[in-house]
């Protein structure tokens, strides 16, 4: 469906263009906050994809997006939650659903066959979501361990099976012969190597979205998707009331759950400058638009201590969409990246119009859901100091469930010892105050003291001065207090080599 230049120039007539399976879809006059799930189920009546929660937490709505990878030759696949993904963000991408994987002649994809043969569906309502999460796993990893499977399925709930048969299917799906010519797994199709097929799709996708800003208008709603940072800066400054949309894993719920109207959206996902990760001598510099899943490997390269923290951060589909910048800018008191980043001495780069400034992360949070961002300003980069030798860092997340749960408490610690004395210490918690916050009194109690049981116990008591946590459905105030202290103790034990502490999760593997 060729689009004329006139259409491109006139925002009224601009279209969202994406591939659904192999077909180009071009949509104009759409409500920018319409979700991909609503589009599939209500507009197309393509009902294989289900709604189980409309908040990104059950996985029934899981679909896969394909985009050209960095080489521009191959495709990158990401499972995402269609219930909170806004439709215009599909621009320039390929959308695949459970129906995509079935060949025209009805032949099922290996993932589907494995699930069927393993008796992995009972009521079947969760199954399309599992199909798509497993499809993403199947494509990204040639052979998965139980751990990989657990990770890949952390965002998919099944109430019927108890998961054993689904794990079996994940283990056996690789042994099925490749699917047929016409199924949604185009990399298996005849008529060229997998690579050829991917290149064809890539080319189509590149043609769909050019370098200009996508701007849509529908009624009194507007949507902008700029592609470079200067345009973004201009748009944000000119629309100070606009909602910045990154992965939408927070913003999506404002619409799906709170039914909020968001008259102006400015999407950062296509801004190339926000997608970069660089490292110099002193710091790891992550663009605000980098997804959690893309950012984490870089962070873990320098700080492997955070592996469990980020395994426990949401689920793959959420981490595939949600950004580190969004996590920080959203400023939830129970956001998981911030305590660790605060203790590392992370600085944010902010931009307003043409002006750029830097701010330490712990000065960014002013009050409950209030940040230092000025109207028209946004986060551009997250600058994380590289490890210093002799410094020990940890961050522990505590929640009812290991996977895909919001923290009751998240504690982060960073200590530098001078012999047995504490030369420098930074402690920050989420879940104990209205913002992610440093424990300054507790830090003072340790600074220049011996790193031993007595001083740590004394410092633990000081946490009651730093925080007055509330009780809610995730945890009582007593538990928050108690476990907050114990996490400091755990950090001490782990860094002083005095004990056999271990994560139960590691132990049980």
């Amino acid at each position: 469906m060729p689009v004329t230049d006139k259409r491109r120039a006139d925002p009224q007539l601009q279209a969202v263009r994406f591939l659904l399976d192999g077909e180009i879809v071009s949509l104009t006059d759409i409500d920018p906050t319409r979700t991909v799930l609503q589009y599939l189920r209500e507009d197309l009546r393509r009902t294989g994809t289900k709604e189980g929660c409309a908040e990104g937490d059950c996985g029934a709505c899981t679909v896969v997006l394909a985009e050209p990878d960095q080489s521009g030759q191959g495709l990158r696949l990401r499972a995402i939650n269609s219930c909170i993904q806004f439709l215009p963000t599909l621009h320039g991408k390929q959308l695949l659903t459970v129906e995509s994987l079935v060949a025209a002649d009805g032949t099922l994809h290996p993932v589907q066959r494995a699930l069927l043969d393993c008796h992995a569906s009972q009521c079947g309502f969760c199954t399309p979501g599992f199909v798509m999460s497993l499809f993403a796993l199947y494509k990204s990893q040639p052979d998965a361990t139980r751990r990989d499977i657990d990770v890949a399925l952390a965002g998919n709930l099944c109430r019927c099976t108890g998961y054993r048969p689904i794990v079996d299917a994940a283990n056996t799906m690789y042994s099925y012969a490749a699917a047929s010519e016409t199924d949604g797994d185009w990399t298996h199709r005849a008529g060229g190597s997998a690579g050829d097929q991917e290149r064809v799709i890539c080319r189509k996708l590149v043609e769909l979205a050019d370098d200009s800003t996508l701007s849509l208008t529908s009624g009194d709603k507007r949507y902008f998707a700029p592609r470079d940072i200067n345009t973004l800066a201009e748009l944000v400054e000119n629309h100070p009331d606009a909602c910045i949309l990154a992965g939408g894993t927070d913003v999506g719920l404002w619409v799906s759950k709170q039914l909020r109207e968001l008259p102006t959206l400015i999407y950062t996902g296509d801004v190339a400058d926000l997608q970069t990760v660089t490292t110099d001598d002193a710091c790891l510099d992550i663009g605000a638009g980098v997804t959690i899943n893309d950012a984490v490997p870089h962070l873990l390269e320098h700080y492997p201590e955070y592996e469990e923290l980020f395994l426990r951060f949401a689920s793959p589909p959420i981490r595939n969409a949600g950004t580190l910048g969004g996590n920080i800018a959203n400023g939830s008191p129970i956001g998981d990246s911030m305590p660790a980043l605060i203790t590392l001495g992370t600085r944010l780069e902010l931009r307003k119009g043409k002006t750029t400034r830097e701010l330490p992360l712990d000065e960014f949070y002013l009050a409950y859901q209030e940040t230092a961002l000025q109207p028209g300003e946004f986060v551009t980069r997250i600058k994380i100091p590289l490890p210093e030798s002799g410094r020990e860092v940890r961050s522990y997340k505590i929640s009812k469930r290991f996977d895909q749960d919001i923290s009751a408490v998240c504690g982060a610690f960073s200590v530098e010892l001078d012999g047995s004395r504490v030369r420098d210490i930074r402690i920050a918690y989420g879940g104990l105050a209205a913002t992610p916050k440093r424990a300054l009194e507790c830090e003072q109690a340790l600074l220049a003291h011996d790193w031993n049981e007595a001083s740590v116990q004394a410092a633990m008591a000081m946490l009651d001065r730093d925080y007055a946590p509330i009780g809610d459905m995730r945890a009582s105030d007593e538990y928050r207090r108690k476990v907050g202290k114990n996490l400091l103790y755990k950090f001490y034990l782990e860094t002083s080599g005095t004990s056999d502490v271990a994560s139960v999760y590691e132990y049980a593997r």
């Binding site: 209500e42 994809t49 289900k50 189980g52 929660c53 908040e55 937490d57 659903t97 129906e99 099922l108 699930l115 069927l116 008796h119 569906s121 009972q122 009521c123 079947g124 309502f125 969760c126 199954t127 399309p128 199909v131 499977i149 399925l153 952390a154 998919n156 709930l157 099944c158 109430r159 019927c160 099976t161 108890g162 998961y163 054993r164 048969p165 794990v167 759950k257 505590i398 929640s399 009812k400 469930r401 290991f402 996977d403 895909q404 919001i406 009751a408 809610d472 459905m473 009582s476 538990y479 476990v483 103790y489 755990k490 056999d500 502490v501 271990a502 139960v504 999760y505 132990y507 049980a508």
Partner: protein
């Protein structure tokens, strides 16, 4: 007509898809391809209206003024309905008339339905529903069951079962313990939320698609609400995206509302609940407070025991009567309680009306007795398993339940012995003790718990079922029965029964949507009875047709009826064989009826609710499980390391499906006892109403080492369908071993000196609290009295 009768020997190949085969779920291929149609996937009629429900913001209040003008004025809105717009009965309660469809002036829980708004789109309806201006006159709410007992606030009268003289036995016993237990409720969390779509038909008739375990009840409630009769309403349900009891009585509210809107507007109307609304508005498993007193001897043998249950029933009776009866019936679990008194309060609270959930009150009773047995063991410093065995029902003596049913089929002794050996219980127990002695912060625990679960509806009249079977001239079969498919594989199993009976391949059988116009007056698909009842009814329907065919064949081929045999898609009549299809054709031309109903009622059961005695259960299902866990005593977090299960499905109709029920039930039970916490604030608002706040088990919670076995060669003693046993509910309670393994690990944190106070759900917070409380208690023994 060419009969093409052949002579020859019968093939002994079993029919494809007969009983006992591990067949895939009949909809499996549709599930994995996205082709299975759930209620929301059914193509929508033109002009369909979407309905949202306006609900109460307070737990107990009078509605002083309800201003719906802003709702009506909202974009896209077509109609607004309240209590005064109901032409018939304003009630969807299954037993008592105490569940209004729209509140007539008094609201009794946060989330109670007050009005409905119909709009052109789902979002417009939801937005509009939030615009109502409601003035409330606040009344004092009762928010927990203990408070309800204090205030004598009950939805139904208190009931008592007693046998022997528990007071006297308690006085005389050597040891004595008493205590109070709390255990939380549980949300069903079916993945498909509540939904109904009503489509008006001519002359005021209504077709209702409902995600329901009980189409018959939907039919009745909709008829009553519309001021119609049963003949005017047809209810259909092909499948549910999970139900677990949550779609037994609850769907009627939404079906009634959809039908009322459709009746008033003349347009089809759909009510589909958002997850939050679903969890806030609909009932869950009852949470309980249990007081107990027990007297026992040096071996832990229970001599006298008393339970006092306070169950949160919520604002109305719903199914709470039968649920709490089942709690009382399962307060023995596997144990002989000679002198026993069980008192059951059915508390009225200003919270959502609790309802059926897999196990239906049984799990709570079993939780209580298992807890007490564990307390006894820890008090006496005995292995809890030893005390469990000491108290097991006997096979020939000590085998009468508190409700006077003699247990005739006890297989627990062998079953537990087998599991104990295959699960290396003793060896692991001593390994764990060794590990715990050396480990400062991580503690491991282990427990083996048994399950005995009574099968049948306790209301005797519900134990009946009907089926309808047509054979077409091409030899294919249309099968219908009163059961519903919620994922449990009922349709598959019943088809297998019919394939076996008619000796035809299963792919010739189409099992069709539950439909009140095909099989009338069906009971809810519940109480694990689905295949027991409907399998038998379908078998009888098939047998009727088969008998007619047999009679016809005997005549046609001039042999005796005994000489006609159906085997593997063929029929042998004396020396001649024809295909099943050929015989059907011949019979058709001979004007033989090829359609039949089947009807079954469970034999032997009887029960007098006044005295709580009789034989409420046709038989019992048994099982046992071992769990091993590790707990972090600094944070309370834990993992289940290994689980071994041995479960009795009788002679399984479909081992793959039964295994699925066992595993799925176990993991669901584990969720109930561990991470699934329902949390209300002091305003009576449920704050855990979505998967973001209510945490059911996820894949990684499944123990890496998970060994599940169905008990082999365990034909049901009773003449059930192919000697199988019901398997829907019993496995849920296998998960009690996880709770007790956690308790064991917590006990290890204070060197097993005392018994921890651990309540369910054992969230990390509850575990840490128990650890700290136990350590703070030091070496002090629990209160003890010697009699």
């Amino acid at each position: 007509m060419n009969t093409r009768a052949k002579t020859g020997t019968q093939s002994s190949v079993p029919v494809q898809g007969g009983v006992g085969q591990a067949l895939a779920h009949d909809s499996g291929h549709l599930h994995v391809s996205g082709g299975a149609l759930y209620t929301d996937d059914i193509p929508e009629p033109r002009n369909l209206l979407h309905v949202a429900i306006g609900t109460s913001a307070h737990p107990h209040a009078k509605l002083k003024k309800v201003d719906l003008a802003p709702v009506l004025a909202a974009p896209g809105v077509v109609a607004v309905l309240g209590a005064e717009d109901i032409p018939g009965e304003n009630n969807f309660g299954p037993v008592l008339a105490d569940d209004p469809i729209f509140s007539p002036g008094l609201v009794q829980y946060v989330g109670q339905s007050i009005f409905a708004v119909a709009a052109h789109s789902y979002t417009e309806a939801r937005r509009a529903a939030r615009l109502a201006k409601i003035d409330y006159e606040l009344l004092e709410p009762i928010l927990d069951p203990e408070e309800a007992v204090r205030r004598q606030s009950f939805v139904l009268p208190t009931e008592t079962i007693s046998r022997g003289d528990s007071r006297k036995a308690l006085r005389k016993a050597l040891h004595h313990l008493q205590g109070k237990l709390k255990l939380g409720g549980q949300d069903q969390f079916y993945l498909e939320g509540h939904i109904a779509m009503a489509v008006p038909r001519e002359d005021g008739d209504m077709l209702v698609y409902s995600s329901t375990q009980h189409p018959g009840e939907i039919q009745h409630k909709v008829a009553h609400a519309l001021g119609k009769t049963s003949k005017d309403i047809v209810v259909e349900c092909r499948r549910m995206g999970g139900a677990f009891g949550g779609k037994e009585s609850q769907p009627a509210l939404f079906a009634c509302i959809a039908a009322l809107v459709a009746q008033q507007t003349g347009c089809a109307a759909k009510v589909r609940l958002d997850r939050d609304d679903d969890m806030i508005m609909t009932g869950k498993r009852h949470d309980f407070v249990v007081g107990y007193e027990v007297g026992f001897d040096d071996e832990g043998r229970i001599q006298g025991i008393e339970f006092e249950y306070a169950a949160r029933c919520g604002m109305s009776a719903d199914l709470s009567g039968a649920v709490n009866d089942r709690t009382m019936f399962h307060s023995d679990n596997a144990y002989f309680l000679e002198n026993v008194t069980i008192v059951s309060h059915r508390c009225k609270t200003h919270t959502v009306s609790n309802t059926a959930f897999r196990g239906f009150g049984g799990p709570q009773g079993m939780y209580a007795i298992e807890y007490v047995v564990d307390e006894i063991a820890r008090y006496l410093k005995l292995d809890p398993l030893a005390v469990r065995k000491t108290n097991f029902y006997g096979t020939d003596d000590r085998n009468v339940t508190p409700y006077e049913q003699t247990i005739e089929d006890n297989i627990l002794h062998e079953l537990v012995a087998q599991l104990e050996a295959s699960g290396d219980y003793a060896e692991r127990r001593s390994d764990i003790a060794e590990f715990n002695a050396a480990s400062r912060f991580l503690k491991r625990g282990i427990a083996l718990t048994p399950v005995k679960f009574g099968i049948s509806f306790t209301a005797t009249h519900l134990n009946q079922a009907g089926a309808l079977l047509h054979v077409y001239t091409d030899g294919t079969v249309h099968l219908n029965h009163g059961g519903t498919e919620m994922g449990q594989g009922l349709f598959t199993k019943v088809s297998q029964v019919v394939a076996e009976e008619l000796q035809i391949d299963i792919d010739r059988i189409k099992i069709t949507a539950s439909d009140t116009s095909k099989v009338p007056n069906a009971s809810a698909t519940a109480a694990s009875s689905g295949s027991d009842l409907n399998g038998k009814a379908a078998q009888l329907a098939a047998r009727t047709v088969k008998d007619r065919l047999r009679e016809f064949a005997a005549e046609h081929f001039a042999v005796s009826a005994d000489a006609v045999e159906f085997r593997n898609n063929r029929v042998q009549a004396g020396k001649q064989t024809v295909s099943f299809t050929e015989l059907v054709n011949l019979a058709f031309f001979a004007r033989v009826s090829l359609s039949s109903t089947g009807f079954y009622r469970t034999p032997k059961i009887h029960y007098d609710r006044k005295t709580f005695s009789g034989r409420p259960f046709y038989y019992y299902a048994y099982g046992a499980a071992i769990a091993e866990v590790v707990v972090d005593t600094l944070t309370g977090e834990y993992r289940v390391i290994r689980v071994d299960i041995l479960h009795d499905c009788g002679k399984s109709l479909n081992p793959a499906i039964d295994l699925g029920q066992v595993e799925g039930g176990f993991v669901q039970g584990m969720g109930w006892l561990t991470g699934e916490e329902l949390w209300w604030n002091d305003k009576g608002e449920l704050k855990t109403h979505a998967p973001s706040t209510y945490k059911i088990p996820v894949c990684s919670d499944l123990p890496v080492d998970f060994r599940v076995q169905l008990l082999e060669s365990a034909a049901n003693r009773e003449e059930t369908i192919h000697r199988s046993k019901a398997v829907g509910e019993p496995p849920l309670m296998l998960a009690l071993c996880v709770f007790h393994a956690l308790k064991d690990a917590v006990a290890a944190a204070a060197d097993y000196r005392a018994s921890p106070h651990l309540d369910a759900p054992a969230t990390p917070e509850a575990v840490l609290r128990a650890v700290d409380e136990l350590r703070a208690r030091g070496t002090a023994q629990p209160e003890r009295q010697t009699g």
